[in-house]
């Protein structure tokens, strides 16, 4: 236990240096592997691979939805590490997430859908991609468009219109991630992504009313 808490003092918030890069490599390999098994890339085969990727992202999103603490109000700084007796040991925390901030009191802060979406744009994106979403737009009728101008999983590929056809498969996992986190927080949704020019991409979240 002591060794684990010593590991926690790595930099502000205990960030592990190589985690983001490891996730990027893993993701690249995941996409490559799923596509490699599909020599006759007809529309059916491609859709299978896309839905497998999306399914993986969904499961991870479900876990992250549980793991992330409730959204903090803007006045407090989310990343100031605070000692809390019940903190999980650093090794139990998924590799790429900085250690969670703790509220002075555990509260449920999701008043409405917009709060949940803001949580996705700020906390979830910060935890997984170390940056916040660049813009969130809504039509107030259950459709949200999340825009990221320099999406970390696309930024290494190109800047502009090259590889535009290849880009969507690199977004499938993230779509699933969003859908999974929303599902844990009680919101059924459909998430699609579109790329106009790398590395900017848009995620469209449509809330399904049951």
């Amino acid at each position: 236990m002591r060794a684990r808490s010593a590991g926690r003092s790595l930099g502000a918030g205990g960030r592990r240096m190589a985690d983001a890069v490891l996730f990027e490599f893993l993701h690249t390999e995941m996409v490559a592997e799923l596509w490699a098994h599909d020599p006759d890339s007809g529309p059916g085969g491609q859709n299978m691979s896309l839905s497998v990727l999306e399914g993986m992202g969904f499961r991870v999103g479900q876990a992250l939805g549980e793991r992330n603490p409730a959204w903090l109000p803007p006045s407090s700084s989310p990343w100031a590490p605070q000692a809390w007796p019940g903190d999980p040991p650093a090794s139990a925390w998924p590799k790429c997430l900085p250690l969670p901030p703790r509220l002075s009191r555990e509260t449920l802060a999701y008043r409405e859908e917009l709060d949940i979406l803001k949580f996705l744009c700020k906390d979830l994106w910060m935890a997984v991609f170390q940056k916040q979403m660049d813009s969130l737009r809504t039509n107030h009728q259950g459709t949200y468009v999340l825009q990221d101008n320099s999406f970390p999983l696309l930024i290494r590929m190109a800047s502009g219109l090259q590889y535009l056809e290849e880009a969507p498969k690199f977004l499938a996992f993230t779509c699933g991630l969003l859908r999974g986190t929303l599902c844990t927080l009680g919101v059924k949704s459909l998430v699609t992504a579109s790329v106009a020019a790398l590395p900017a991409c848009k995620f469209q979240v449509v809330i399904q009313k049951s």
Partner: protein, 139 residues
């Protein structure tokens, strides 16, 4: 020290329920089941009025002559219900809160386990041993 610990899914079926082995375990199952109504009431009562103040810890749900039942709800609407012996008056609110916190963090560990499918019964040995440490030692 708890007498019975239960984890109930969002759809109100048990993911994990464990009680101290006595002759009548069904009584604890029934108590947990009836406490779900109280939990739902608390969640919806606080729903509109003071949503800012809504805590995850729900406190004492209802007392019976022998036992007290405490509840806790997570952001994903998973409920933890704990039945505690009434005669054990030394157990304070803070201790119950810390037991729920431990439950919550073990539950998030279970969720993050890739071999666990959300919605299945919890079979993790780590979770089991954590719950054992919370329950009364009955020989």
């Amino acid at each position: 020290m708890a007498v019975c610990v239960a984890v109930i899914a969002k759809e109100n079926y048990p993911l994990y329920i464990r009680s101290v082995p006595t002759e009548n375990e069904l009584k604890f199952h029934y108590m947990v089941h009836t406490s779900l109504d109280v939990v739902d009431e608390k969640i919806s009562a606080m729903g509109k009025a003071l949503v800012d103040q809504r805590e995850l810890y729900l406190g004492l749900l209802y007392p019976t002559e022998d036992y007290k039942v405490y509840g806790y709800v997570t952001n994903s609407r998973v409920k933890f219900v704990m039945v505690v012996d009434s005669s054990n008056t030394a157990l304070r609110d803070n201790e119950i809160r810390s037991m729920f916190r431990k439950l919550h963090s073990s539950y998030t560990d279970v969720m993050c386990n890739p071999f666990y499918n959300p919605g299945d019964r919890i079979q993790s040995r780590a979770f089991d041993s954590m719950v054992t440490s919370m329950m009364i030692q009955v020989c």
